[in-house]
Amino acid sequence: MRKYIIEARELVYQYPDGTNALNGLTMQIKEGQKVAVLGANGAGKSTLFLHFNGILRPRQGQILFDGRSMDYRHRSLVELRKNVAIVFQDPDHQLFSASVLQDVAFGPLNLGLDKNVALAKAREAMRQTEIDTLSSKPTHFLSYGQKKRVSIAGVLAMEPRVIIFDEPTACLDPRMVDKTMDLLHRLNKQGKTLVMSTHDVDLAYSWADYIYFINGGQVAGEGTPREVFLNRELLAGCGLKQPWVLEVYRELIDSGLLATTAPMPDSKETLLELIRNASPGAAGVKIRVAQ
């Protein structure tokens, strides 16, 4: 079994104004996994993420990285932030410099790397996110999608082991969503652990290895996508819907158009394939058998 790279144990966090943001939240993330965190606006996802790299410190409970409990000393914080990076939702909150190169190289330079090494890492990150051509453009001339990619590059350049994406696809057009998800797949292939919050159940269903539902600062449910998304009560409780792939699949099974033995599809493509394979001939045979 793979070990947990990040664990949150019974986190309790209160905002300065007294409202509870996290109420004893416990979460375990395995190395190399793709984890989706779903929940309504204000459920506590962003607050949780800020705990994962030590920006916020829990009132109670603890964060473990690589099995070691965080002690919030300067050295541990640097170590944690080097390994767990966050891509914030609004790139305007993250990009502080008008020079794209300067912004991407910010992290590596903070790690105390030599200038040339930092520059090389920045360039590699910009290549991966396909923004090499933007290097001489100032941040304020970039489109939203480009800013988003710069903010991802700035995080990649630090070569963290875990990358947390806060709604990476919000406000992007479909083409940019595809590009972003491609990038996420590639990063995961390279061995990086990815955590993503999203409102898009369809996206989460076909992307994630493991899913957490957050509601009211607590984990309301967890499991593999096929497990959790079958639990309609849980979904309704969290204000979420079933992915349409599952809904169509169930309807097809219920109405008998698909055999009950048909495997649960994990994406649009596999569903369409299931349908294609259940062509009239095949369906006809099954019906005769059934009768």
């Binding site: 909150h93 008008a98 300067q102 941040t139």
Partner: protein, 259 residues
Amino acid sequence: MLLIDHFAYNNRFTQVHPGEKALFFVLTMSVCLFLPSLSTSLAVTLLMAGVVVLLAGIPWKFYGKLLLVPGSFLIIGLVAVAVSVTREPCQFLWGTYLGDYAVGITKAGLDTAVNLFFRSLGAVSCLYFLSLTTPMTEMVGLLRKLRVPALVVELITLIYRLIFILLEMAGQIYTAQSSRLGYRSMRTGFTALSQLILSMFIKSYRQSQNMYDSLVARCYDGQLHFIEDKRNWSLCHVLVIVAVEAVLAAWALYAGGIM
């Protein structure tokens, strides 16, 4: 939003070493200030207009409009300098009496005013050359090389980026207000404007907190480290600059002499 900034990144000099542009700026400005004369000022104005419009490729229409920007200050200044008010009788080129006082234009006043006007125009042209051809991101690099304290350079870097965030924010609020008729009349306009400024203030405060968090998330330790693309000085450019300045200085000495 800020067109000067836009052209600074989109002109034919973007690949030129910023040091060369700064050198040209400093030398021309020095000629303009240390060897002032009408003809020198005019020569500088024309030289810079030529360089900016013909060589750097800034649209002449925009450059023309830009030259009018400091206009109101110039006009006020011109009037203030040229017009004299005095009790003593005086040689006026043109004048009138208001009670005990004589108000009018003396020859000396007019000379000063006209000299001042063209010296300013020349100097402003130099400033425009710098700001229209040199991106701010590169000027920051120059400041660093000039040993400006790190804290100042850091603040300049941050403020420059934040300016655009705030301007975009202000633009969006302004649009939203106008589309709900916020600037329909004087009265509603004043309310809307004060609301705009107040909400911008609160939002920028919150954004500063968010941005700080995101910097800390990338191991910010309270100090910005700088990095930039290497660019080489071109000997050819430097020689051309020195030659042009030498001609300019010679002309200035011949035409105006040392003041």
